[in-house]
Every structure is written in structure tokens, then in C-alpha cells.
């Protein structure tokens, strides 16, 4: 377990959110074609930790949804954020960084897959999906070394 206590006093959550909302360069980012949501990984300069930021596009509201240790070599993370349980909009997201360069894909119900390929340089793969219907079924999958896909979150 990467059982490190994050250096809370060093980490600047607001700076990461401002960076992402301003469209400034970050470690990795992905957004839907219509800009309804975005997810980004921003590196906190002072601590070296990575901050996962989810953005509600229409509201231009950014949320730090997770922290990732700087030396964690294996990231397979999925989640969602909403104003309250049962209340939309709900932003689903997936974040991966593996030694195999795994990619992600996400779809609502039986709809088309939204793909998030791994960046060859950094290994980060990101995907997001916004829905006003909190209970919309969303499935996120990660690619495996043999080219198959397996569930990351359903």
C-alpha cells in the first residue's frame, strides 16, 4: 500500500483547480467533445503529489476528486462526483496509469464507447462522462495486455 500521509500543508487544491479551469498545461487531461465535462491530472509542484480534478463544464466548477501519491506506479481509479446522492449532474471519471499503458473506455447503457487512450509519453489515460440523471448506468473498462477489456466500474 502506498501508505503515505499526504503533505496537506504543502498541497494547493485551489491552484490545481484554477490551472485546470484556465486550460493551462497539466500532466494529463481529457474532455468530452462538447465540453460538458473534463478530467485532469495536475501535479502539485510543492509536494509532487498528483491531483485528479473533475470539471462540470457548463457550471465551470472544478472538484479535486482524488490525490495520487507521486511514486504510485499502478493507478486504476474510477469514481463520480455529484451535489448529493441522487442529485445530478453527476460526473463519472476514470483514471489509469499502468506499466502496460492501459487505455480506458466508458459508455452509458448500450451507447457508444468514449475512449481514453493512454498517453505514450506519460502513461496516463483519462475519461469522463457527465449525466443529469444520477442513476444513469455507466460502465468503465480498462484494456488488458492481451487486447481485451475488463470492467473498472459499473
Amino acid at each position: 500500500v502506498t501508505d503515505q500521509e499526504p503533505p496537506w500543508d504543502l498541497i494547493d487544491l485551489d491552484a490545481a483547480k484554477r490551472l485546470v479551469l484556465a486550460g493551462r498545461p497539466v500532466e494529463a487531461s481529457a474532455r468530452t467533445a462538447d465540453g460538458a465535462c473534463a478530467v485532469a491530472v495536475a501535479r502539485d509542484d510543492a509536494s509532487g503529489w498528483f491531483l485528479v480534478v473533475a470539471v462540470d463544464g457548463p457550471a465551470q466548477e472544478a472538484t479535486v476528486v482524488a490525490l495520487l501519491a507521486p511514486d504510485d506506479p499502478h493507478v486504476q481509479l474510477a469514481g463520480s462526483i455529484a451535489p448529493a446522492k441522487g442529485v445530478g449532474p453527476r460526473i463519472h471519471y476514470g483514471v489509469a496509469r499502468t506499466s502496460e499503458g492501459a487505455g480506458l473506455r466508458l459508455r452509458r447503457g448500450s451507447g457508444e464507447w468514449i475512449h481514453g487512450a493512454a498517453d505514450p509519453a506519460t502513461g496516463w489515460a483519462l475519461v469522463c462522462y457527465p449525466t443529469d440523471d444520477f442513476f444513469d448506468p455507466v460502465r468503465i473498462e480498462i484494456s488488458t495486455a492481451n487486447g481485451a477489456w475488463e470492467p473498472l466500474a459499473v
Binding site: V1, T2, P6, V64, A69, L77, A78, I81, P151
Partner: protein
Amino acid sequence: VVLTFFAGGTVKRFGLVSLVAAALVAVPTGVAQAGVVTPQHDVVCTTSIGGARANGTTGVVVSGTVRCNASVDVAVTTIQLQIYEGGQWRLYGNSSSTASTAANINISDSAARKPGCWAYRGVITREAFHHNWGTTTKYGESASFCG
């Protein structure tokens, strides 16, 4: 700045408000007005899960942690082993769960190993509410054991 407000006749210090599951929330900071509680900063967490490890000669165990910069109002954290069987990952054994809202949580799940050689991994899921609501699910690295 820590806001102070009255609740049930007592004064409570309410320094945080946003939430998260494994993280957070993002309500803009603002100027506090009378009767208005304005979030001063986010509650943010990091959730970690280690690789599956042998537990004695016949068992397998996986451990996880949650580290937050403050406690949240409501949280459920669950960890469970998975086994790679039939070409896919399946839940294995019974899960371990806690409703602790503490800022720091250590949690583990163990089970007897299945006869033969199998790959195992762990998955930790956290659902939390603290102004906002969120979920996070994180998978650990797999490891194979025989016997």
C-alpha cells in the same frame, strides 16, 4: 479562517465543508455573511490499496488505507479480494466494510486461498458525503499464489 456557527445551542467550529469520497468538492470560497456558511476549503482524501499478499500458508490478504485532510459527515469504505477466474475478475470471499468517518482509515480483507494456482487482487470502494457526494473505486496490483 474557521467559521463559527450555532447548532443545538452549542457552538461548533465548522472549518470545512466540501466533500468527498475520496475527495472532494469544489465550492468556491467566498465572503461569509450572517447566517451563511461558506466553505473555506475542500475535504480531500487519497485512497490506496496494496497488492494481494499471502496470509500464512493457506490464506490471501489485501490491505487499504484512506487518508483525508479532515473527517467527513458520512462515509462507507469497503475492501474486497477478487480472483481471476473464467477469464475475468470476480469478487472473492466476503468483503470488509466500515462506516467510519475518520480522516484516517486502515482496512483489510482476507480469505482462504482457492486450491490450485490463481491470481488475486483487491478493490477498495469509498462512498462519502460532506456537502458533496462522491464515490471512488481503486484496484490494487494482482499477485498469483498456488495452493
